[in-house]
């Protein structure tokens, strides 16, 4: 089961099976101590801001930048998907894919949070013109 870990130097929070050996922020070794989810929520929550559409756009552009895929060049399609992603966040709690549906099993439903792990999906894997199910990410042309 994944747990929360806090860097005792800079208060970075990590969520995972193991803590990082080196803190990616302050570069101190063996700096992580296990904490409760309530503590993690308080620490990460106090600086938390609402992500705007523009910030989300920049975040996924940056995410795709060094990958073999890019954000779909069709602006109208992207805007429609953003409408869905943000409306799902407001109504259902997370940025769920507008082209799929929650099954009400939280661990399964986490697989629907955008960006999802689409590189393993049959719509992307091994396909020259592969894309994620909703089409927000498309494989770069060679």
């Amino acid at each position: 089961m994944k747990k929360f870990w806090r860097c005792f130097v800079c208060n970075d929070i990590h969520y995972g099976f193991k803590p990082p050996e080196v803190c990616p922020t302050c570069l101190v070794k063996n700096a992580y101590v296990e904490i409760s989810s309530a503590e993690a929520q308080k620490i990460s929550g106090w600086t938390q801001t609402i992500m705007t559409r523009e910030e989300f756009r920049q975040a996924i552009e940056k995410f795709a930048e060094k990958n073999e895929f890019r954000v779909c060049p069709d602006q109208a399609k992207v805007e429609m998907l953003f409408d869905g992603v943000f409306s799902n966040e407001q109504n259902h709690g997370l940025k769920y894919c507008p082209c799929r549906l929650l099954c009400k099993d939280f661990a399964e439903d986490l697989k629907l949070v955008c960006p999802c792990n689409f590189i393993i999906h049959e719509t992307y894997k091994g396909k020259e013109d592969g894309e994620c199910w909703c089409g927000l990410f498309v494989r770069r042309k060679k």
Binding site: S87, N91, H92, C103
Partner: protein, 93 residues
């Protein structure tokens, strides 16, 4: 002719692309789809979830839109498809 369902999402571009094809099919053939939106209508979402064992294995293991579904035969067509594929599927129902 069986009752057919189209599960769709309001902000799903594939569903938007399929709508005119469904309109055309309904005009040209004796078929009718009940169009059920699943992100803003919870009862439609619950209905789609109730068919998960039939739909998911044919849609990459998940509930995806658009999904065309025959509740009598449990036959499924998933995703954005060409007109002829939709037509063939609907006419064999």
């Amino acid at each position: 002719m069986s009752k057919l369902i189209m599960f769709h999402g309001r902000e799903c571009p594939h569903c938007k692309a399929m709508m005119p094809l469904v309109d055309k099919l309904e005009k040209e053939e004796k078929v009718a789809f009940e169009r059920l939106e699943i992100w803003h209508e919870e009862k439609n979402a619950d209905l789609m979830r109730s068919y998960r064992p039939d739909i998911a294995p044919k849609c990459g293991g998940q509930l995806r839109t658009p999904t065309f579904f025959n509740p009598e035969t449990k036959d499924v067509l998933c995703g954005e498809v060409p007109y002829d594929k939709l037509k063939d599927w609907a006419l064999k129902q």
